[in-house]
Symmetry: C2
Subunit: 165 residues, 2 copies
């Protein structure tokens, strides 16, 4: 089946302290103290109205430094090969990243966030509110994540970030 | 600032019972009995390995029937105008949809899901596992959602779906 491709246009830029992939935490929970700045392009400022009332938001972004897609990959948290869609690895057929970050504040078109786990200069594609009603789901099975305990996850999840500076 | 646009290529099609936008539940929690079929294109089958171990997954998709973007819009759950990024409305600058659905099973490249809240024929862009570790976030403020009680949300959230057939 042929389905037309989709062109998306970044709506802003995410500025963080992470300039090297190998020193970037893999998820917001491993980057709680990492403050970032989301610079939404001014022409979209009106769309940010009411956003600051939410404590957490989804950022949808372009994994612009992702390497070639691989259908099988080792996730950062485990040394076993998994299907890429069963991981959050960047080497996806469509390099779209998703992070739930804490929204600390907004001034006009600029958001301050905590949990910034993306590279500096990451192109932003969309922002959505995270809500208990829609997004706080009770899972029954967490797949291979259940094989990784929290201490091991934290150790691997921060990557080399804690070694910096 | 000029940031290059990004071309994404659908990796599959989501088949649901919803053929009219106005009869489509707005989120999976309002569509718990709606079974859907995700037909991932066969060339990506290998990437689905291990996915069936997760009870819930994110589907990232193209809101292919979304109307023109509007920066201010009334969310389905409330009659007040909000910034579009503070809502999950489809009329976003980049029409990218996000749903957390229950993964009931997988046969090769075909997933069976519950909570199918998207239109039939929706182009799929990505699949990610939903995990307690990354995605079960304790919010402090849920914005305007706090003004809408659960009964009202359910009434509006199913839209005209319950009136069908």
């Amino acid at each position: 089946m042929s389905v037309p491709s989709v062109m998306v246009q970044p709506i802003g830029i995410i500025c963080t302290e992470h300039v090297r992939s190998e020193e970037t935490p893999i998820q917001p929970i491993f980057a709680p103290t990492c403050v970032g700045r989301v610079e939404v392009f001014p022409e979209y400022t009106e769309g940010l109205q009411d956003l600051e009332q939410f404590s957490h938001i989804y950022l949808v972004y372009h994994l612009h430094k992702a390497k070639e897609p691989r259908l099988l990959t080792k996730p950062f948290l485990q040394d076993r090969v998994r299907g890429v869609f069963a991981t959050r690895a960047p080497c996806r057929p469509n390099p779209i990243g998703l992070s739930i970050v804490k929204l600390v504040g907004r001034e006009e078109n600029v958001l301050t966030i905590e949990g910034a786990d993306m590279l500096d200069g990451t192109p932003l594609l969309d922002i959505k509110p995270y809500t208990r009603r829609f997004d706080h789901v009770q899972t029954e099975r967490d797949g291979w994540h259940e094989e990784v305990d929290d201490a091991e996850a934290a150790r691997r999840g921060v990557r080399n970030y804690s070694l910096k500076g």
